[in-house]
Structure formats: structure tokens, C-alpha cells
Symmetry: D2
């Protein structure tokens, strides 16, 4: 397994194909727009070497028996799924935010493991063997694997093949003997700057004429004809400024747009190529795991927010017990998304291919919590932390160090701690609640409305009604009403 | 194992010592104040005989290897703890309310199993052997076991031994060679009318001078000098009226006051008698399980409320999809308390005595949800169901059948179903949301404020702060502030 | 103006036409099902005679210049509308619940004052003169006037004239020279037992073929061929039991079903008879006032709940400051519905007929709060008050006085106050939160969903979009999307 | 009255004493850090000239009878206070954010109008005449007046005079015949860059030894020895970037730190100088108005958020009716803070000095809503708007215009509108919910906890208890419990 240094070295060696602010990023490991997220991901490698965390961050490969990164493992039972949730919580604890270059890839490979198995059963294809070979190799190379799902979609009222522009979802434009050629884009993809490879999953809702859109594969991040543009995030220009106005050096989130201009993918890396019936299934496999584990993510950030708020109250000169009711509510919120993630994990079941699929109803309920509770947690953090933290209403680092008036600002920012320290703590609260540390967890992995739709789809309303009829011993059938309109 | 008939027969044979409305209840199985709860408990025996439910309601005794009621089993691993949660959800599904004559006893015997083990380790006593012998016998006899914790307490600012009246918590008034004599009361005890025996747990917060209050034992419900008075519950007079104004015949909750006027308990049934240091531990053991499993209870009632609301919307002539957003929220509430119960169960650990203790933090977080989410669920049910269900604002069963104007009422109550059926459905919603079916789940098993206190006690705020300091790389120690006052 | 005694005397003299539990109520002022609500209404008369409250409960008639009950006045400006809100809060403060026999009538006469004016403008009818003459006389006689809107409706997917049974909404079955004859029913009508007369309003959504359903009039409560059946409410059987299990003697709510079996109404009491276009307008006039003022109602009950909770915490032996966060939230809830009622009142405008119509958007927003915030207030009250109050889990009054064990119950119910007092306070909390004192404020005056529909109807989404476009200087028109299905 | 051009000209002429990022801002009207807020404030002058808005933005001076800016008027009755609320809503509607350079000054001058009156009554001083003369002149000059309250405070557990550093609150360091000299700072002061003058209010909680801290005055913004440092806000570096990444050109908020290094204030501009007993009163006068009117602010921003969300849903290709439930909730939130502001305004009373003081209880309840409801509104906006808006996860303006790949990004950002427009709309949602447009309304004008404290202070719990006792006819006095600790 790689050391942190080897990991960063592996990134340095890759072709430059990532842009931000109109410029090509030469070396992702040192460029201000990307180095923080890479330092965040480095902590995975660092922590994997510690006694405290190695059990969580590594596991034994079910394919080779070797010790591997958990992020490249197959999740084969409930216990390992719970460890996935715990690992995500840990990584948010350590970095304060998302290490998105690994978890989507991790969930994606497990989803495709099951999906390729099912496709092969029906179609007699060899996708499952391909992903197996690729994965054994990937484990050996200890790669960092990002994952990509979301297509731009264009006009959302029409399926891909009816779009004016056929490229609005990623699709196969050429099938060759040795592989496929794909065109299109994937939007808002986390952590690619920190990744060596990317696994691509198909979208959903495809019918037969959309077959060319049902495509899944793994590619090196720096593959030819793939252009990556990093998106903005709140206060991201501060990444380029000196000092502590971006207060976190060893963590950070990036989200990118991937543009495929006729990218070639060799057959051994192609895991789906036209089997449109399985695209929904692939995504559902993905979702069940993702929406369980994301409960650990927001809990992990919530833990840091609890700590930052309590620390801020001390820095302001107040005992944090004054805010006990609020802190307790924040902890309840954290434990709720975490607990729901654990429950969804445990109540899952084993897929014939050997991987574990968490319970769909509970994981989707959890997505709704993930899209609401952290907002309350952040509001409470701002409530506790006071006006300076609410919108980061403090002088810039440059002003704090002005030869003209910096000393006066330091004097007036002082409370229970010196002005510099208090400002840095407040910047941390800002970063966590309204700054660069806010991860896109509401829509990441799908929207809460989508999650509610799945909860509804999983709901047999007649079964509920029959429960109530039985309790009330109501013998009459209560037939459904035709809906108007 | 008993049949439902044998179960009821066992109750019929017992001494009459239960009162309500100033009168002695001669036969609990037919008296209107108690027969519904007994019919509810009977469904446990019935369902245990069905293929569908026997796996949940029975298990193999870890003591004898015999098939026994799960309610009399030792919970020895996470899986069995999850089954406990599931069993509670099932019983609320079947009865619409609480079968309290079993679950407190079940949790109580497990809590005392661990506690007696620990006491014996320190004190060299033989309590653990006693409870083991009693339990093997109880399993053989397939008894229904209620449990009792709450003492009246009197002046809450003083410990038991400083009360003006020493009886305000249950205590030992005499120690004899063959047993102990106890005096005092236990308040708000669920389901004793449906039980053969009762297991008594001590209160908490005892210091050495309170040693006589640290007492635990199991007694027959009809033991000499024990007087039981059933408490009221909303709309309980309807239990005595004809017709469907209490719409549930096969379920119902009772909660009683137990008055011990120098009750003798033989040694073999005494599980704690003075070991005050272990009273808090006994209660914490109890709480961890109870507050996990109660998530299943309120989810199970919530399921019935979802069904009753959807059925009501149909009966009113509306498609339930109109209320999809509300129904989804109700389902989310149910799955949240259920999921948190499962998570607390799974994240527990094994006690040296062999029983499983769920995670305290999560089970107490769940108690907070249990004390809030069902209120929203009930509000939404009333919202969906309309004015007649909101406060049960419909004519009485007697009026609906009046020879003078009953036909007219039937005519005007009609909507998508006939007036009689619609009224019965609305009465069911009333019963579930503001009537006799509302279980005391907010304070049952302890208050939400108590749960928050435990969450706080489990919280190491400095550890949270250290997480945040690490993320923000803040090297300064941020010391706590002395609290004013 | 009447004294309380004269008021009750006026009810005694009326024909008996009210039933409950299958029996005719001989004298409403002494029958257990009705006397409490009448004692509640009596307090209006009593308080009108006190210096403290007479300014709120009386006013000067804009028709005659005489001092009259505010409940029979025309609301002619914002200040009087605010006084209406205040009066409702006061009456809930004094009785703990709804004095529904007056406020619906009050709002109804004002709504019909405006509506008759408008009808006459278009149709040249003389309805406005009729209501004026009737009102002058009603003020002189100082009558208590209930109001009735809700029709049974039957199949809600069809208009009245398409129902299988034409009687499912109240309608004119005969037009005579001297008046009209009506048949049908009005459901869930508050306080008729305490009223001398009833003003009837039409339903909504009527088209031309429904003209006979567009009918409004005022009749004596004991008019011929009108049969009244009182509905149940939670724990209403306790009204008939001795002692304090219904803890409130001078307040109570009744809601009745009115059955019209070809009731004759003389012309001078008819205010609408076929002008179907004005039925919606009548109801909207009613709603704007009603949904403003009801904010005072639930605030007024909330005040009592705050007091009962604080008193209960003391009775339990706890300082209420322990619950400060909760009590403050309850107060915030109260002031919110009250404040929104005041704001809707103030932002209204004068109708050409001279009466004041509150702002529709704000009054409907308030209806949503009225249907949600009091549920939180009640939950908090149960949280503060403890297990005995949550579901009234205490022995009955009869048991508390049992010669056999009553003394023991008294002993064990004791805390900071004696057992009897503590029980009575807990019963009060029960009554307010899950008992007979809970008014039907969620659906009373229309459902929250209906209120949201009006808020939506009042919303010009394009205007909002234009605000945003202007702020973002977005020049493009962003056209609406055709909705699928 | 000034034209927008004259207003900007008046700012250009002032001495440069504002810094950001370590640099002196030469001309606030064109510098990227300040020009947006000035363009926002300019709209006040522009709109005051339109028929549509002049009634709201101007009024007749109660001192001179001249037409003046409402922001410089005395609020002398409820109607004018409501117009204040409406004006704030309008300005947020027009600028999308806070025009803080006017409202604090407006509230501040009214608060000091009343306070100086009271001081003079007791002390025989002439402060009231001074403020009157100054105000008449200020109205004539049509100045823009910011206001400043918040002191740095230092160690919050100690009063100003016990601080290690006496400057931690602003204080008088010298009293001269012709005026006073002050030292210290005011923190987080809105809109000073857009103002001609600043009115300073004292802090609270001062005792006699703190007399020198009880100081109030008005000074030109560019007065000698006053240094101003602008604070950061989320994504504020974008103010300096080209293009639409800060999407709002005609609005923006600034908040500054004012550093007084022995600033001289002539007597005629001093409104309090040592009368420590009146410092709390001054602040309470301020708070009552401020916390009423701020309900208009957040409603006004909420209106823009509603519009931006609906526009975004269209741009994404969805009909906004899909989100009706969410949009309705957002509207309810807006109308609630607005309505509560109106109610607090209306229920106020006239101070002997002639100005109107809103109701303290309701205005403080409103502060709690202002600190919570907008967070829900913003969460819902992000929920509706999708992943690109949630954290502004889109390419930068520079990338969208890259000659290399800009066209491809434009293509893939396209949905119902072209990629450029869609991106700009999403940036607007970002700006409103997690960007530079988020005003500091939670702690601005004081924290929600402070507001709750005032609600509590206004609460006579015994009066509530007496209401409940009366309803339950409980004759016993229920005495308070001594609180432990």
C-alpha cells in the first residue's frame, strides 16, 4: 500500500488536464485550487498507517487475501458496510469536509460489481470478469478512484435520445473491436483532482432507444481527450490568498466538470455498453450504499462543527454549557444521520454476486435527514458562535497584519484568547457553515425529493391500510379514489 | 408454550386485587377496563403459533435449549436485540398500541441478569443464580411478566431516606431469614392486568443511607398485600360503553399504581437487597435496551396511523396521493425511530454475564425522537383525516343508532363509504391520536430531558474541540471558562 | 344588556331539541353534557360587567349608538378587528377553551353584512336591509348567536346538484311568498347549545345549477323541525362523572350536528337565496376575519397551557426555570399566532358596506400556524408536566376517594403539594392537551391545506420572479415549463 | 432631496479612511469592495423619485413640514412604524440584500430622540435640543446616516471598567469645554462605506463606574482619527473578479470595524456623555424598533429567494408547481417575520418625546423567527434549485468564457435556457443562500438568545399560573420551588 508521499507522487506524474479560472493546473499537488483536497486525501494514507485507524481504513481483499485500502474493497457483509459508514465519519473528522475522490468510486465499484454479475447472467457477457480483473489490479496498484454519475441532461422533460443535442448525457459514439468511444460530460464530480482513476456509472430512466447511454467504465483521470474543469465553491478565491482566511490546509473539497471529447475506453475497462435495462439497477445499487454511508459523512462534519462551536464559545469568553441545549441538539442531529446509516447498512441483504446492498427504504429516509439536519446544525453553530462567525464578519488576514492598523484590530478582536486565535476559530466556523468546507450533501448522491420518491415507491399503502383495518376490525374494503385531473 | 386460551385461563385463576373506579375487578379477562388489553396480549400467543410471526415471537432458550417466548429470553447478541425491536413494532402493528405487560418485564429481566452478575462479583452474593433459577422456571411456565420501575418519589429535591414519609420510594422494611418485606408503591405500571408476574427494579441516584431502597425482585401479580389501582387514560369511560366509540376490541393499554403494604418476597425471588451502588447500573442497563426498542413501538403505531390516515382520506372521498408529502413524512418519522433503535441495538456490546447492552448514546438520542416525532405524525394524521377525526367530533354510537334520528345521522356521515364505516374509521384515528390508543411513550421509560442528560454525560466535549482544533490546526489550548453563578 | 342569569334564563325557556347519547337534553343549563359550555359563555356576560374587561367585551353599536356586546357588533375598522382578536384571547384565558357559540356567529354576521350589500348592488334585492333590521333587533335582545357553515357534502368529487342524495348540502326545497323551506344538515357546529339563534352561511364552489344551495339565514336555535345532536369529544363521558376528572366546570366546548327537516325561514331572516355567485364571496369574507381572530384563540389557550405547565412543574417539586427554554418556546408560539392575527387585522381594508376585511394572505398564513404551533405547545406541556399528565395516567377521582385505598393513593400522589391538588393540576394539563379542552382549531374554520391554497392563489409567482430577475439583472424571460401529465 | 448622482457625489468628496485587504480605498463609489453597496443605497434615492415608491421612501418631517427621506424621519405613530417595516422589505426586494447604511442610523436617531428626552427630564441637560438641531440640519442636507452599537467588549465576564484594557468598549477619554474625545472601537457596522455620517449608540449593562462608556453622538464618517476597516463576507473576493460570479451589481452589504483613536466630537453632536443609567434604555428603545423592522428585511430577501428559486426551477426545465409545497412554506416564512414586525409595530406605544416604541415582547419574538425561518427558506431554495446552486458548483465565469473549452461548458450548462443564463441564475441563488448576499440577520441587532431573555423578562409567570388556576378552580397557592445550586 502507498505512503502519503507515494500517493502524491503518483498524482504528480499524471498528465495535466485539469483547469480552473481559465488556466491549466500544472501540478495538482501544489496548486492552491487543488492542494488542499489532496492533503485531505493524503490523510487517508497517513491514518491507514496508524494503529488507531488502520482497522477502519484497510481490510483484507476478498479477491486476493491481501491487505488493501477499504476504499478499494468489496463490501460483503453488514459489518463491513457499517465500517464504511464509520470510515466516512472518520475522514470528515480528520479533514473537516469531503474526501470525495474516494467514496463515490468505492460505492461505484461495488454497485457495478453486482450489476455486471446480473447483466452477465442474462446476456452471457463477461463484464463481471472484466471488473474483477481490473479491481484486483487496482487493489495491487492502490489507486485512488473517483466516481462519476451525473449527466448534464439538458431538457429534463425528454429522454437522452430525444434531446436536440445527443451529447447531453454521456454516450457511446463508436464501438470498436478493442473498445468504445464516448462523448458527453459528467457534472459536479467530487475529488477527481485527487484521483488516479475514475469509474463512470450510467444515468437512469433509459429505454431501448437510449441504449448507447447505458455505459459504465473505468479510466485513468488523465486519459486522452478528457478535459476537466474545476467548479467554484463558496469563498474559493481565498484558496489563492495568503494566510488563514481559508483556515483549513489539510482538507478541502473539489467538484469538477468532466468533458469527454470522443474518449476511447479499451474493452477490459468497459463494464456496461448498451444494456439499458440495467442502468436503473446500477444506480439503485449505488444509491442504497451511498445514502447509507453519507449519514456518516454529515455526522463526521457535524462532530467538527460541535467542537468548533464549543471552542468558539470559549474563545468568546463564554462557558459552552450556556449553549448545552443547542449543542445537544447538534449531537442528536449527528447521531441521527449516523444511526440511520448504520441501520440501513445492517438491514440490507447480500446480492448473489457477493456484495452487500443496504436497505433501500432506510437509506433513502436517511438522505432526507442528510438534506435537512445539517442545516439546523450549522444554524445552531452560527447561533452559538456569534456575529463574527455568522458570515465571517471579520477583517481579512491581510488587514489583521497591516502595519498601519493591524495591531489595533488584533487588540479589538481579543476576548478569552488573543485576537489572532479568535479570528482563526471564527474563520473555521465560517468555513464549516457558509464557506469552502460546506460539502454538497443535499444533492450529492441525488436530491431529497428523489429519495422521497424511492421511499414512496417502496411503500405499499394498501398494506398499511390493511394494518389499520385489522386493528379497527373494519371489514369493509375501502377502495381507492380515482384522482381528478 | 401457552395457547391464547391457556393464557387467559391463567389470568382468570388469579386472586382479584385490581381496582378501577372504586370497584374490584372480578375477572380481568372480561371486565371492560381490562379485557381489551388482555385480548391485545393474547395476540402474542396467537401470532407465536403462526408461521409468519413465530420466528419473531419465539426463540430458543439460551438456558435450556427449549423453544420459548422471546419475551422471556435473554438477549445475547445484536441480532436478537434487533429482533426485540422488530417484535415491538409487530405487536403495535397488530394491536395498534402497547402490550406493556411484556416488554418492560423482558427488558427488566435482562437488566437484572447483568446487574446480579456484577453484584455477585463484588459481594459474593448469589443473586445471579436466583434469577437464573427463577427464569428457567418462568420460561417453563410461559408466564407473562410485567415490569415496574417508577417510584412516587415525593419531594424530588430530597433522596428517599430524607423524605418526611419514608415510603415515597419502595423499600425494605424487614429482612427475614426467608426473605424481605417491602413497603411503598410503583406508579404508572403498564400492563399488569395482563400479567402473571411482575419484576421490580430499583430507582436511581441512591447513596448509602438509601440502601434499603435498592431492591429488586419478582412476584406474582396477585401476591398478598399488593393492591393494584388502574389509572385512567383518555376517553377510558368509553371502554364501558357499547358500540364502536372505543373502536379497538383487540388491543388497549392499561397503566396501574401498585401499592405494597408490607409485601413478603421469598429469598429465591429477591435479586437485589441493599446493594445501592448497583441501582443506577441496573437502571442504565434497563434504559439502554428499553430506549432502543421503544423506537420499534412508536414506529409500529405510526404504521397503523399511516394506514388509518390513508384509509380515512379514501373514506372521505379523496385520493390519498393528495396527501403524499404528509404520508411520506409520517413514514420517515416511523423509520427514523425504528432505524435509530436498530442502530443502537447493533452498536451495543456484550456484558460479561452474556447479555447484550445496546449503545447508550444512540438509544438515548432515540428517546428524544420517540418523544417528538410521533407528535408530528399524529398531527399530520389529524390534518389528513379532517375535522371529524381531529377531536372525534362525531355523534356517539348510541346517537348513530337512535330510532329517532339515527338514520339521518347515517345519511349525513356518508361519503365514499357508508356513514357507519366512515365514523368507525374516524374513531380509529381519534383513538390513535387523541384517544385511548395513545401510549405514554414520551415519559415511558424516562423523560426526554433525562435522555438528553445521558447524551450529555456520554459527551466528551474536549474530544470534539480537539477534532476541530486539529482540522483548523489551532495550536493554542482553548481553556474552559469558569461559569458564573 | 343581559346579566349571566338572564342569559341562562333565556336558554332555559327554549324548546328542547338537542340530543346526546340518544337522549333529549331537557335543560341545557343543568345537563352535564351542556352546562359547562354554558357556564363558559356566561363568563362573557359576567366579564362584560367588570371594569377590567368591559371595554373589550362591549362596544357602541354603529347602528344605534347603544352599548352592545362586541359579539353582535359590526367590525368597522382595524382597531375593532384587533379588539376581536384580543377578545378571543381573553375568553380562552377565562374558560381555557372555546366559546364557540359566539365567535362564528359574530364573524358570520359581518361576512353577510358585506355580502348582502354586494348582492343588492347587483340584483336589486333587499337582503342588506333585512340583515340590518334583524341585527338591530338582535343587539336589542342581546342574543347569543352561533354560526354554521360546514355541509356534510357527501361525495366530495361532485357538486351538490350532482350528488345521489340532493340533501348532502343544505338547500332550499320550497320557495314561498313568506319565506323559504330548507333541508339538509350542518356538521360540527360549535356552541349551539349555548346559543339563542344561529346564523347559517352557504358553502363554496357553487355553480348555477347549485343555486338552491346558495342560502343564508338566521333562525332561533329551537326553531321547528330543527334537530340538534351533540358530537362527542375526547373524554366526554367524564362530563357525567362526579369529581374533578373533568377538571373544568366553567368552560367547555360542544360541537353539534344540525339536521334541517324542511325548516321554514321567514323572508325577513333570509339573507341569500339562490345568488350562487356570492357564496364563495361570503365564505371568503368569513375566512379572512375568522383566520385572523383564531390566532387569538389558540394564543389564549396557549397562555393557560403555559400557566398549567409551570404550575405542574412546581407541584412536581421542580422550579419552572428548569424548563425555561420550553416555556419560552410555548410563549413564542402563542405570540406568533396572536401577532399574525393582529397583523392580518391591521393590513385589511374597508368593504364598501362599512365592515373591515382583514388581509387574506396573512390570515391564511396564520391558519397554517394555528394548525401546527399549538401541537408543539401541547407536546412541550406534556414534556414539562411529566408522565402523570402525558395521558392523564392517574387514578380516577373515585379511586382517589376510595375508603379502601384512597388514602394510600393520596399519599403516593403527593409531591410539593398534596396528592389531591397535584392530581387536579395534572388533570388540567390532560384536559388542555389530550382531553375535553382541546378545541378543533386545526380544521375549525377550514383546513390548513385550504389555507395554503388561498395563499397560493394570492401569490403572483411571476412578480416574485421579476424581483429576482431585477436583482440579478437577468434580461432573459424565463418562461414557464409545461407541466407533464 | 438628493438625486442618486448627488448622493454618490457627496461620498466621492469625503476623506478616504476606509481600508480593505490592507489597502486604502480611494473612491468608495468605484472601488470593487464598496461600489456595489453604494449602488444598492443609490436605489433608495432613485426609488424615492418614482411614483410607485415615493410614498414609502419619503415622508413629511414632523420638525419642519418639509418632504424628507423616511430614513431621517421621526417615527411618530404606528402607521409610520409599519411603513418602516414596508420600506425595509422594499429595499431588500430591490437590492436583494441589506442597505445597512441607513436603517441602523434611522432606528438609532429615533432611539436617541426618546432617550435624550428622558435624560434631560432627570438631569436638566440639553441633549434633546442638540439632537433636534442636528436632525433638522441632517434632514436638510439629506445625509445618509449609518448607526453603530456593538463594542468589542473583550472579556465578557467583566464590565468595561474592569477590563485589563479600558478601550474594549468605546469611551470618553477627555471632556473638553467644546466637546469630548473618545477612544475604542465599534465592530461589525453595516453600510458605513455608503454613509455620510454615523450615529453612535452606547452599549448596555453599565453601572456607575462605567459612566464614561455611556456615550452617544453623531459624526461625519470621515472625521479625523477614525479609521475604518471593512470586514470580509462569504465569497467577497469575487467582488474583485470580472464577470457574473458575483451576480449582483446593484446591491451588496458591507460591515466594518470602526477604530476611534481619540476622536473629537463637538458638544452639539454629543447626545449622551456619562448618564450610565440611560444606556440600557437607549438600547431597549433601539431594539424594539429594530427587531420589528428586521422582519421586513428578511421577508424582503425571502421574496427574492422565492423568485430566484422558481426561476431556477424553470431554468432547470421544471415547472415550479412541482415545488409548490416548498415555495408555499417559503412564502409562509416571509409573511411570518413580516407580519410579526407589523404586529409589534402596531401594538407599540407613544413615548412622551413623541416617537413610537413598538411592543417589546412581539419584536423580540420576531427576532427569534428572524434567526431561524430564513435558514429554512434558504435550505428550501437550495433544495428546489438543484446541485449547481447548492454550493454554486459551476465553472467560474472565466472558465465559461475560455477560448479552449468555454463553448463546451456553455453547451453542457444549458437546460431550458442557455448555459450562460442558467449559470447566472444559479449564481444568484448561491449569492442569496451561501454567498455575499447573506446578511448577518441572526446576530444583527442582537442575538436570538438575547431576544429570548427579553421575552422572559417580559413574562410574568405567576400571571400565567393564575390564569390556569382560575380555569382549573385550583384554590391552593402553588408556591415556587427553590432552585438547587
Amino acid at each position: 500500500m502507498k505512503t502519503p508521499e507515494e500517493y502524491r507522487e503518483s498524482l504528480k506524474k499524471m498528465r495535466s488536464n485539469i483547469y480552473k479560472f481559465g488556466e491549466l493546473i500544472d501540478d495538482v499537488t501544489i496548486h492552491p485550487s487543488t492542494r488542499r483536497t489532496i492533503m485531505g486525501h493524503s490523510q487517508i494514507f497517513e491514518s491507514a498507517m496508524t494503529d488507531e485507524h488502520k482497522e477502519l481504513l484497510t481490510t483484507t481483499s476478498s479477491l486476493t487475501g491481501e491487505t488493501i485500502s477499504r476504499y478499494l474493497s468489496l463490501v460483503t457483509d453488514a459489518d463491513q458496510m457499517v465500517k464504511n459508514v464509520n470510515m466516512k465519519r472518520l475522514m470528515f473528522n480528520l479533514t473537516g469536509t469531503c474526501t470525495g475522490g474516494r467514496c463515490v468510486g468505492f460505492n461505484g465499484l461495488n454497485a457495478m460489481w453486482a450489476t455486471t454479475y446480473d447483466i452477465d447472467q442474462e446476456h452471457g457477457t463477461d463484464y463481471h470478469q472484466r471488473i474483477k480483473s481490473w479491481l484486483i489490479d487496482a487493489q495491487k496498484r492502490d489507486i485512488t478512484l473517483a466516481g462519476a454519475l451525473t449527466d448534464p441532461k439538458g431538457d429534463r422533460t425528454k429522454p437522452p435520445h430525444q434531446q436536440d443535442d445527443p451529447d447531453m448525457s454521456l454516450h457511446i459514439v463508436e464501438r470498436r473491436d478493442d473498445g468504445i468511444v464516448v462523448r458527453g460530460a459528467k457534472a459536479m464530480i467530487a475529488g477527481v483532482a485527487a484521483a488516479n482513476e475514475i469509474i463512470i456509472l450510467p444515468g437512469t430512466g433509459y429505454k431501448e432507444p437510449d441504449a448507447d447511454y447505458a455505459v459504465s467504465f473505468a479510466i485513468p483521470r488523465d486519459t486522452e481527450k478528457l478535459t476537466i474543469v474545476e467548479a467554484r465553491h463558496p469563498s474559493d478565491s481565498r484558496d489563492h490568498e495568503c494566510g488563514f482566511d481559508n483556515p483549513v490546509e489539510y482538507g478541502g473539497i473539489t467538484q469538477a466538470y468532466l468533458i469527454f471529447e470522443d474518449v476511447f475506453v479499451p474493452n477490459e475497462r468497459v463494464f456496461m455498453a448498451g444494456e439499458w435495462k440495467y442502468s436503473l439497477k446500477a444506480v439503485l445499487n449505488f444509491i442504497a450504499s451511498y445514502r447509507s454511508a453519507i449519514g456518516g459523512c454529515v455526522a463526521g462534519q457535524g462532530d467538527v462543527i460541535v467542537g468548533a462551536s464549543a471552542m468558539m464559545s470559549r474563545a468568546n469568553g463564554l462557558n459552552e454549557k450556556v449553549f448545552r441545549e443547542k449543542l445537544t441538539q447538534m449531537i442528536i442531529n449527528n447521531e441521527t444521520t449516523y444511526g440511520m446509516g448504520v441501520a440501513a447498512s445492517v438491514l440490507g441483504k447480500k446480492h448473489p454476486s457477493g456484495v452487500w446492498i443496504p436497505d433501500s427504504k432506510l437509506s433513502n429516509v436517511n438522505k432526507v435527514h442528510v438534506a435537512t439536519l445539517p442545516y439546523e446544525t450549522k444554524r445552531l453553530a452560527q447561533d452559538i458562535s456569534g456575529g463574527i462567525a455568522e458570515t465571517g464578519c471579520m477583517p481579512s488576514c491581510e488587514d489583521m497584519n497591516s502595519p498601519l492598523y493591524g495591531e489595533l484590530l488584533q487588540k479589538y478582536m481579543k476576548a478569552h484568547v488573543d485576537g489572532d486565535t479568535r479570528t482563526r476559530i471564527a474563520r473555521l466556523v465560517e468555513w464549516l457553515t457558509i464557506g469552502g468546507g460546506v460539502p454538497g450533501c443535499m444533492h450529492g448522491g441525488g436530491s431529497p425529493d428523489g429519495a422521497k420518491m424511492i421511499v414512496n415507491a417502496k411503500t405499499d399503502m394498501q398494506a398499511y391500510i390493511d394494518l389499520a383495518r385489522n386493528v379497527g376490525r373494519i371489514k369493509e374494503e375501502i377502495t381507492p379514489i380515482e384522482r381528478k385531473r
